[in-house]
């Protein structure tokens, strides 16, 4: 538990010290949102709620894949061995997942603010939408952290990361898109309950799989 806390704090301090990475990601998010804005400013009324939802999730997906990809690919070679000697692989993956979850949530909400500011905010049920973003962030961070670990061990890892992660996150993404549509339409919450429970269940499965499988990647 103590090591978990230390590892998590270490990730956080490292991130805050070299601000270039996080500001780079923010810039990436901002540019994508701005491109969407510029493209659609040509004809303002063209952006229907469904187009908004598609643009939003595509932007978020790309930003998050880039964010999480760096969690293992960016690490220096020798540092792995050092971590290996001080902490069990389970603590490492859990600390990384928690950290990535935090980062993903922050980036998603920033993305949402940008989209609401630049395009418009079609969401009728904000609190439900926030819950959806949080659950999606949980699923993304759990599955992508493990895949980043796999990709980091292989050659040309950035391409591999994209290839491996897209199919994996689609099941999470399909449900979130569906719930987003419900949020846009302002449907009653009971309509989305079963979807959210399924999303939570998928998250649990994916997290458990990452937790169990990570030690085998780490050992090599």
């Amino acid at each position: 538990m103590q090591t978990l806390k230390h590892l998590f704090l270490k990730e956080l301090t490292l991130e805050l010290r070299r601000k270039s990475v996080i500001s780079g990601l923010m810039l990436y998010l901002f540019s994508t949102a701005f491109i969407c804005y510029l493209t659609f400013s040509l004809r303002q009324n063209q952006i229907t709620p469904l187009v908004w939802s598609a643009l939003f999730w595509i932007t978020i997906l790309f930003t998050i894949i880039n964010t999480i990809a760096k969690s293992f690919i960016g690490e220096k070679k020798g540092r792995d061995i050092y971590y290996f000697s001080i902490a069990s692989p389970e603590t490492i993956i859990i600390s990384k997942i928690i950290y990535n979850f935090l980062l993903t949530v922050i980036l998603s909400f920033t993305g949402f603010l940008l989209f609401a500011l630049l395009l418009k905010n079609p969401i009728a049920d904000l609190s439900l939408f926030s819950l959806t973003i949080a659950l999606a962030a949980m699923g993304f961070s759990a599955s992508l952290t493990l895949l980043s670990g796999i990709a980091a061990k292989a050659n040309n890892s950035h391409i591999l990361m994209a290839v491996l992660s897209f199919p994996m996150v689609i099941s999470v993404l399909l449900i979130t898109v569906k719930v987003t549509k419900n949020c846009i339409d302002g449907l009653d919450r009971s309509v989305s309950t079963s979807d959210l429970i399924t999303l939570l269940a998928i998250n649990c499965v994916v997290t458990a799989a990452s937790y169990l499988l990570f030690p085998y990647i780490w050992r090599s």
Binding site: A154, L160, V163, L164, I170, S171, S194, L213, S220
Partner: protein, 222 residues
């Protein structure tokens, strides 16, 4: 694989082909005679899931106790499963042309199946991009288990929650209610067993070819 299982597989598939085309089937609107596709389309998916399951089991065993053979088994069962999955998609597209009007309908189950095939295609990409043999085996075993976990919701959970034209989805009745009267069961269940056995047979053959090739390679190196 035991010889009697191979004979059983051939006999069952022969029976499926003859019975599937000749036995009488219930008359239903729209579906009509195309209901016979059930004997060929659905068993493909049963076969795919069974082979992927076997592949996953070999991957789990590989992680517990790594040996070269288990990796080859996992790989070849996944390959054969992928082939069955592709056949399942194609037979489904043919069936859809005549009942739904067009081969690709954006049905949730169709999309889910296509995505899960993508998941397994990524498995082969992963295998291709790792040089070191041990590492390749370990990473792909991990990915294989993960892929199986990701495939289950795509094929079995999400389509059932949204409106799909496949039976068992969005309140549609499942198999047992709508068509499988006892006449169809007589062909359908043997067909499932037959195609699964054939898939296992093909996979084990491929494993043997690969192991022999490996042996030859080792001899040449010596």
């Amino acid at each position: 694989m035991k010889t009697w299982l191979k004979i059983l597989a051939v006999a069952l598939i022969f029976y499926t082909i003859v019975g599937g085309f000749l036995f009488s089937v219930p008359r239903l609107n729209i579906v009509n005679e195309t209901i016979r596709a059930l004997y060929f389309h659905v068993p493909m998916w049963f076969g795919m899931v069974a082979l992927f399951l076997i592949s996953t089991i070999y991957s789990v065993q590989y992680l517990r106790n790594p040996t070269f053979n288990k990796d080859i088994f996992a790989l070849e069962f996944a390959t054969t499963g992928l082939v069955l999955g592709l056949l399942g998609i194609f037979t489904g597209m043919i069936w859809a042309t005549y009942t739904w009007g067009s081969p690709w309908h954006g049905d949730p189950k169709q999309n889910g199946a296509a995505i899960s095939l993508l998941v397994y295609l990524a498995y082969f990409v992963l295998r291709g991009s790792v040089e070191n043999e041990d590492q390749r085996a370990r990473l792909s075993a991990v990915y294989n288990i993960f892929a199986f976990c990701a495939m289950i919701p795509l094929i079995f959970v999400i389509p059932r929650m949204s409106s799909s034209m496949h039976p068992g989805s969005g309140g549609n009745p499942g198999f047992n209610m709508y068509d499988l009267d006892s006449r169809m069961r007589m062909v359908f269940y043997p067909a499932v067993v037959g195609w699964i056995l054939l898939g296992i047979w093909i996979a084990t053959l491929r494993v043997r070819v690969r192991l022999v090739n490996e042996k030859l390679l080792n001899l040449e190196n010596e």
